[in-house]
Amino acid sequence: MNIASTIISNLLAGDPLEGRTIWLPPPDSNLAANSDLMFWWINAVCYFFFFGILIALVWLVASYRMKKDRPFRTDGPLHHLPLETTWAVVPLFIVIFIFYFGFRDYLNFMTPPKNSYEISVTAQKWGWLFKYPNGATSDDLYVPTGRPVKLSMRSTDVLHSCFIPDFRVKKDLVPGRYSYLWFQTDKVTPEGWGHNLFCSEYCGTGHSNMNRKVYALAQPEFDDWLTAQSQWLDKIPDEELYFRAGPKLYARCQQCHSLDGTKGIGPSWKDLWPRINGGENGKFVDGTSYQSQIGAGKQYPTPEDYIRASILNPGEHVVSGYGNAMPSFKGQLNDKGIDAIIGFIKHMDEFDTKGKYLKEPAPLPKVSMK
């Protein structure tokens, strides 16, 4: 029954890889058609010249091998002005044509339409944050189909680059500047699948894991998703926050913070709470210990204050043995989100090493379309 329904839904949704060739991924945006057409034309020019040159080389080598015991033949021409001019000028015309069409479509790529739906993108080592006009945020990119979408992008640390191969679009995110990227996709992303979104500008340790998915939803579903996404945290009662929202928010932290004690880019969260709560032997890079910083009358009156400060201002006290690598999450997590993280860390023993809640099997309400 399950298999049958999967097959049927797949048939209805269509093959996500439809249109994919050995050279190119499926063309799923309005910009892909022209980009691909250009790609194929250039390929045709390349095949023509490459095989032409290859065949000519084989023929030349086969025909003009040295004859033993005979003086060298010396009847070959030394130069031939018309011929040489021809093969200087013909490529010139070919590349001018190619330039023109590439240029025309590039202008289109560089000019987002006025009526675009704008999504703000923030990249930092090593994750993406997508923020929608109603204030909702997400780690994967959700876009409506059938209308132009404009990403207004910035980076908070080093260079990143937003690359969606199926849409044939890419743009660098430069710290200190905003950059735009736009596309329009008319194809709803099939269930259980998503377009890849890569960081394609080298940014260090987590560069290759800075990939996310892009989901295109029809406008009504997108609107539903958007509403749910903007409210999901608010709808959760405070006492259930740590196990309903904690694991979901942890997805953004797991790149650097493990739950099983493995040393990552940042300290593991395993036994973090006992360490900072009355803790033993923890040290910061400035030489001070946890005990001298955390507690009544000290810099962080409670361990909760310490965690909150570490999220909002991570460089303040860096744990000994680690670099100052964590970006600030100021403006990305509201108080409720921070409470969820604190609760999650406090109740670490109720979760497995992947962040799955062990006590109640599946109490989470459906909060997302995917």
Binding site: I22, W23, L24, F39, I42, C46, F49, F50, I53, L54, L57, L60, Y64, R65, M66, K67, P71, F72, R73, T74, D75, G76, P77, L78, H79, E84, W87, L92, V95, I96, I98, F99, F101, G102, F103, D105, Y106, M110, D157, V158, L159, S161, F163, P165, K170, K171, V174, P175, N196, E201, Y202, C203, G204, T205, G206, H207, S208, N209, N211, A325
Partner: protein
């Protein structure tokens, strides 16, 4: 053009005294002013660096066999160091000095019929700068390495915790000066030391290429120097030049960097093109076709090379107007490149082709350079570059040009001049086999990655999605095949030093001046300055059984090509 003084038979007796035996002892090498010894020292150093860079390449390829970690202990950070070292070593320590400083140093003065380069002391100084630069790079490893990529893009390079960044930058800065001094030396040498009768348009084409390269080295490298210095200042003293959090501009760095590093691509490829002109003409025993077009296309490439740097930045936020101009100018490089390829092919027409190792390398160059050049069209075109930029497609394009063309050209040249440099012949059969293995391995490694790139696999990735794995596996197998080919090459070249047949003065039938002195050349190259003829005139050269090499036979003069006779009469 150089050569063949028909009235005066070649000096074919191997003179007991040559540059290798002229003096002996460590100090006689360490303080030598002889361009040949400096060339040999460069060659040994460059080949050692090539080995080290190659080991890093194999580590990178092996790590990419599976998604995630493949080699135990190689984490994302270690991998980032690996590919950075591979790139930095191959670019700054291997390819840039390989042809001009190693082969050029050895061959250029002899081709000119000169005793040495214009400034022998400066030449030795360049070599020691290279050594210091290399030492700094090694030091940077001890200080914690650098994981910035060879491009040192800011603000990552100014903020990365890796400890060896400043040492590496200093190393590259010093290497830059080595390159500038070599270039300066060669420009003056070509201008001032040409023998009587060798006009600009009688120079061997290798010299044209070396000359064009030297001009780029002198004009472009200082920009790299000052850029790296600014980067060091920013990293060491937190003075904001490129880092936006201190009021700098990271895109400015990219402009500065590529203003050097794009011309640097031509510092690599131009001398290889010069070698190919020699190889094809000599091993086809046929006058080069369209000499002037080939010579002038080198100069054209040198000029264009300064005007196209922005094509590395089409999606970096550079203005659309600049992108358009840079795209247009980038296409113009296609014209001199096409002229060269077609003229080389025409040189084979009605030639006397011998398919020996150097010729096989020259043919490999033609095929690989064609692929590298043609795939450049995808990247110069604005809208297709948006998709392909920073993917494996770019990686493969520049490996076809920098390795498949520049390095293959260098290795072809090494085989071509090996008998001259060492006085020994290598095993010809093994040479051909190794060349074929390298050619196959290269294409298996790199052609596969065109598909990876166009399907969207970004470069500099430690981990990747499973759908890309099959291509990575094929590519890694290819890299092992290539490594095998290079190991075989190293073996038979080393073996030739000990058991190789003694090389005649002119083993291939070349016409330029270096084939007129004995192998290896005497300390002072020529007893008296040789007379210069047309170095691409092969009509009076024939094989001599007794000599086991080629000699000039005045009796053949009668059969001189009527085209040539007409050309030489005015």
């Amino acid at each position: 053009m150089t050569t063949i003084n028909l009235s005066q038979p070649l000096d074919t007796t191997v003179r007991p005294d040559n540059y290798l035996t002229h003096t002996s002892g460590f100090m006689s090498w360490a303080f030598t002013l002889d361009h040949k010894r400096i060339g040999v020292m460069y060659m040994v150093s460059v080949l050692l660096s090539f080995f080290v860079g190659g080991v890093f390449a194999l580590l990178v390829r092996t790590e990419l066999l599976t998604p995630g970690q493949t080699i135990p202990g190689v984490t994302a950070d270690v991998y980032n160091h690996f590919f950075t070292l591979h790139g930095a070593i191959m670019v700054f320590l291997v390819i840039i000095p390989s042809i001009p400083a190693a082969l050029g140093n050895f061959i250029m003065p002899i081709m000119l019929g000169a005793k040495d380069v214009a400034f022998p002391r400066l030449n030795l100084f360049s070599y020691y700068l290279w050594v210091f630069g290399a030492l700094f790079t090694v030091c940077s490893l001890l200080l914690g390495g650098f994981d910035t990529g060879w491009t040192f893009y800011t603000p990552y390079s100014t903020t990365t915790p890796a400890g060896g960044v400043i040492a590496a930058l200093t190393g590259v800065f010093i290497l830059g000066f080595s390159s500038i001094f070599t270039g300066l030396n060669f420009v003056v040498t070509v201008h001032k030391l040409r023998p009587p009768g060798m006009t600009w348009f009688r120079m061997p084409l290798f010299l044209w290429a070396i000359y064009a390269t030297a001009i780029i080295q002198v004009l472009a490298t200082p920009v790299l120097g000052i850029t790296l210095l600014l980067l060091i200042v920013e990293r060491a003293f937190n003075i904001g030049i490129f880092d936006p959090s201190m009021g700098g501009d990271p895109v400015l760095f990219q402009h500065f960097f590529w203003f050097y590093s794009h011309p640097a691509v031509y510092i690599m490829i131009l001398p290889a093109m010069g070698i190919i002109s020699e190889l094809i003409s000599v091993h086809a025993h046929r006058h080069i076709f369209g000499y002037k077009f080939i010579a002038l296309s080198s100069i054209a490439i040198a000029i264009f090379s300064f005007l196209v740097w922005g094509h590395h930045m089409f999606i970096s936020g550079q203005s659309p107007l600049l992108n358009t101009l840079f795209s247009l100018i980038s296409f113009s490089v296609a014209i001199p490149s096409a002229v060269k390829v077609f003229n080389w092919m025409s040189t084979l027409y009605k030639g006397n082709i011998v398919l020996n190792t150097p010729m096989l390398y020259a043919l490999s160059f033609l095929v690989l350079f064609t692929i590298g050049g043609l795939t450049g069209i995808h990247l110069a075109t604005l809208n297709t570059d948006v998709h392909l930029h920073d993917t494996y497609f770019v990686v493969e394009h520049f490996h076809y040009v920098m390795m498949g063309s520049a390095l293959i050209g260098m290795i072809g040249g090494l085989h071509h001049w090996w008998p001259k440099m060492t006085g020994r012949m290598y095993n010809e059969t093994l040479g051909r086999v190794a060349c074929v293995i390298v050619f196959i391995g290269f294409n298996v490694t790199f052609f596969t990655q065109f598909f990876l790139g166009s399907q969207g696999m970004p470069r500099r990735y430690y981990d990747y999605l499973p759908e890309y794995q099959i291509y990575h596996v094929i590519s890694t197998i290819g890299s092992y095949i290539m490594a095998l080919g290079f190991l075989l090459t190293a073996y038979y070249l080393m073996a030739s030093l000990f058991g190789g047949r003694r090389a005649p003065a002119n083993p291939w039938g070349g016409g330029s001046l270096e084939w007129q002195c004995s192998s290896p050349p005497p300390f002072d190259n020529f007893a008296k300055q040789p007379r210069v003829g047309d170095c691409y005139n092969f009509s009076a050269i024939r094989w001599d059984e007794k000599e086991q090499g080629y000699v000039v036979d005045p009796a053949l003069q009668a059969s001189v090509n009527p085209n040539l006779a007409a050309k030489n009469s005015h």
